[in-house]
Point group: C2
Chain length 212, copies 2
């Protein structure tokens, strides 16, 4: 047990070292420059290199999202886990806030009344926020499906959709659907994703503004 | 786009249907009965079947953990994301609480003073809780390394260690280390894991008490 070969590394160097290892292991795999730090941060969060091929970006999505954040955009997420994982302090420096409506009583009531999920009801609630928004869905495909409907009805027009719900029921389909909604997107195709992935993408967008 | 083949399913049936799909796709892979619902819930949370082979359980770990929860054990986690993902209401029905000390000022001060991570300092703080504890590490290998040291020094004796940090620096080694600490464990060998995985394991333990 004492034979374990630990790296001796200072706490504030761990993240830097992790990104070095990721870059090294990517080897000759060429990431598009503008998307590289989002992809690497998702790998950092998941230790899963599948995201190299599953993450899809609409044209200039990262650039557009960063401009939106610089302009004060807020982030709406579909889980509390994602909302606490986003660096709200850094976001607030540009004027944005992080919203999650999952625990709100009106959302629970709306979901019950309409036989839908709370995550879908959250998307309806997002319509009432009269600010530029990034919508980050890390859990519920039903949120993406409702969001696409609201976009079609011209009731909401987010700056960016982060579509990374995880799971087995309608997840793959909801991601395909949202990529056709005419809104800038970052989507993890397939079944994988999660609140942690949603938060990691938001943080990569925020951190990249200062080039850090 | 309208050709997408969505499953028409009621919100309260989605989780049940997801577990059916997981069971179906596992096919002939035989999970140990006592560990099956933990493994399946982790797959449900990650859509990643690698956990079938990476999750390691010490003997009777699940049984022992459920007895501890029934006896009022609390859960200490190393991230706020994990702590909000654990069903604290269900846990509280048995008398337990969810603790995360990551935002505590004394933890930040201790980490700075000792040149360690806040996650490691959190483990030191857990020593002061005079209750049966489950320690769930979903992020920081430094937390597992400190925890193993505290166990060796007989300063803490958790009922269960959930060792599922994720990443590239000392993650694999910290998991090997903690499996030799003489404490019941559930560990995801290798680099993968995460706050979401830690929370999923806690919830599977809690939900399984009532057989749900």
């Amino acid at each position: 047990m004492n034979e374990l070969d630990f790296e001796n590394i200072l706490p504030d160097q761990i993240e830097k070292r992790s990104f070095e290892i990721i870059t090294q292991e990517l080897g000759n795999i060429k990431l598009a420059d503008e998307n590289a730090d989002v992809i690497k941060r998702v790998i950092h969060t998941t230790a899963d290199f599948e995201y190299v091929s599953s993450l899809c970006f609409s044209e200039n999505a990262v650039k557009h999202a960063r401009e939106a954040i610089l302009g004060g955009a807020s982030i709406v997420t579909d889980t509390k886990m994602a909302s606490v994982g986003i660096n709200a302090i850094r976001l607030s420096q540009y004027g944005g806030q992080v919203f999650s409506f999952m625990s709100d009583e009106d959302v629970a009531a709306d979901a019950k009344e309409n036989g839908t999920t709370r995550a879908a009801a959250c998307m309806k609630k997002a319509v009432s926020i009269d600010k530029p928004l990034i919508i980050a869905v890390g859990n519920a495909p039903t949120a993406l499906i409702k969001l696409e409907e609201l976009i079609r009805e011209k009731r909401i027009k987010p700056e960016l959709i982060i579509g990374v719900p995880v799971g087995f029921v309608n997840v793959v389909q909801s991601k395909e659907l949202i990529m056709g909604a005419g809104i800038p997107y970052i989507v993890a195709k397939g079944r994988k994703g999660g609140s942690n992935v949603a938060a990691a993408i938001c943080n990569a967008l925020i951190y990249g503004i200062d080039g850090k």
